[in-house]
């Protein structure tokens, strides 16, 4: 027979846990709303940036900038967006799994990583993969500055020739329940899709100071904008995943409390019954 006091103690402890998961869910929901707004707000900029970049890159030859030049991929760099905290469902594990798959697909090539978030750092610390840079406490950074920093590391590696391709792995935000781990190609910069092949802009453009310099700068800013947009998506995904996970945890806690309360009541009933039997049989004994 479980002790009444023990059951009561367990109920209280589960109730406390439930309070925490509920609070975390509310915090995640508030952060998610902000993060989603940020994704939306930055979209016009990145769309325009893409248009301007495509406009100029379509008119430029692939040799015009090292960032457009396609090379046999001997060495690749993978940028990984993970989180600093757990308790957010599959958010971290799916990104890490996708990264590992990408690494396996590129076996035999030189691979180096740029890691964001404690989870990615801890995961790859035990595995022998070279890291170019690790950035922790992502949420405390200005995300655009962070994107700029990562872009410059990637661009440097690409221009120096220590990387022939740069990929980005992150969680794309679909909705609160669904976040899709994605691999995006950052460098070389993709300038045209198949249907745009053969399209030519007719307008004559002027560039100041020079077409090469402007192209260089636009490509850099385009890469930053891609990294920035993905960071915002990742942030929304993390909060969405946490909200869903904490909602499930709160529901589980409720079920557990219900079960325990049932046990508690049964145990209490049993105790009362036992006491009654004792009293009755005691009285019987006296009468007899």
């Amino acid at each position: 027979m479980p002790n009444l006091k023990d059951i009561k103690r367990r109920i209280d402890s589960v109730k406390n846990t439930q309070k925490i998961t509920k609070a975390m869910k509310l915090v995640a929901a508030a952060k998610l709303r902000k993060a989603q707004e940020a994704v939306e707000a930055s979209r016009p900029y990145s769309e325009r940036m893409l248009e301007v970049m495509k406009g100029i890159a379509l008119r430029a030859s692939p040799e015009a900038s090292p960032l457009l030049e396609r090379r046999q991929a001997q060495n690749i760099v993978i940028v990984v967006y993970s989180g600093d905290k757990g308790l957010c469902g599959p958010f971290n594990s799916s990104v890490l799994k996708t990264t590992q798959k990408l690494i396996a697909e590129n076996e035999g090539k030189g691979i180096s990583l740029i890691l964001l978030g404690k989870k990615a750092r801890d995961f790859f610390k035990r595995r022998k993969v070279k890291t170019l840079d690790t950035i922790l406490d992502v949420a405390r950074h200005d995300l655009y500055d962070l994107a700029e920093k990562v872009a410059d590391i990637a661009i440097n590696a690409y221009t120096e020739g220590t990387a022939d391709a740069v990929y980005l792995v992150f969680n794309k935000f679909k909705n609160v329940v669904v976040q899709i781990p994605q691999t995006a190609s950052l460098l070389p910069v993709e300038t045209r899709t198949a249907e745009e092949e053969g399209e030519h802009a007719l307008a004559d453009y002027e560039y100041e100071p020079s077409a090469e310099e402007i192209l260089e700068e636009i490509l850099r800013r385009y890469v930053i904008s891609q990294l920035h947009q993905a960071l915002l998506e990742s942030q929304a995904s993390e909060n969405g995943a946490r909200m869903t996970a904490m909602d499930a945890a709160t529901k589980n806690a409720k079920e557990m409390i219900d079960d325990l309360t049932l046990d508690y009541n049964k145990a209490r009933q049993a105790a009362i019954t036992t006491e009654l039997i004792e009293v009755v049989s005691g009285a019987d004994a006296l009468e007899g």
Binding site: A41, E208, R221
Partner: protein, 143 residues
């Protein structure tokens, strides 16, 4: 450039930052802080892509003069539109003058304390240009 653009009377001006769309208006003319100095853009301007310095973008929105402080930016000019892609942009009315003045002073102090050619010196110069643009945007609007 095609002839049909000559009849046009206004330009679509868009000012975008990574954080938000700051302006999207139809304007008769816009002045931009080019690398070689301020220049005006009228409808029918030739295609141009260039860099902008931290400075002030001036235009008229429904007859009201507007001044906007921008940081380093890229601009694409076409006969019918002007797209400014800036790291930051603030309309004159939105700028906190005291804060802008304070950061201008701070940047000036840093310029003075650091040797020329130093990485921080360059940054401080850019910062002071940005702060100056913000201060000017407010002051000139007030006059």
């Amino acid at each position: 450039m095609s002839e049909s653009n000559d009849s046009q009377e206004s330009l679509q001006l868009e000012v975008l930052t990574p954080g938000k769309m700051v302006a999207r208006v139809s304007v008769p003319m816009v002045t931009l802080p080019g690398a070689e100095g301020y220049f005006g853009v009228l409808p029918g301007h030739m295609h141009l892509i260039t860099r902008l310095k931290p400075g002030i973008v001036t235009y008229e929105d429904g007859g009201m003069p507007r001044r906007m402080a921008i940081s380093t930016a890229l601009v694409e000019v076409a006969p019918e539109k002007v797209i400014v892609l800036a790291r930051s942009a603030e309309l004159g009315g939105d700028i906190d003058l005291d804060r802008a003045r304070a950061s201008l002073e701070e940047a000036k102090a840093r310029i003075a304390s650091l040797p020329e050619g130093d990485e921080g010196h360059k940054e401080a110069e850019a910062e002071s240009q940005r702060a100056l643009a913000r201060v000017q945007a407010v002051e000139e609007l007030g006059e």
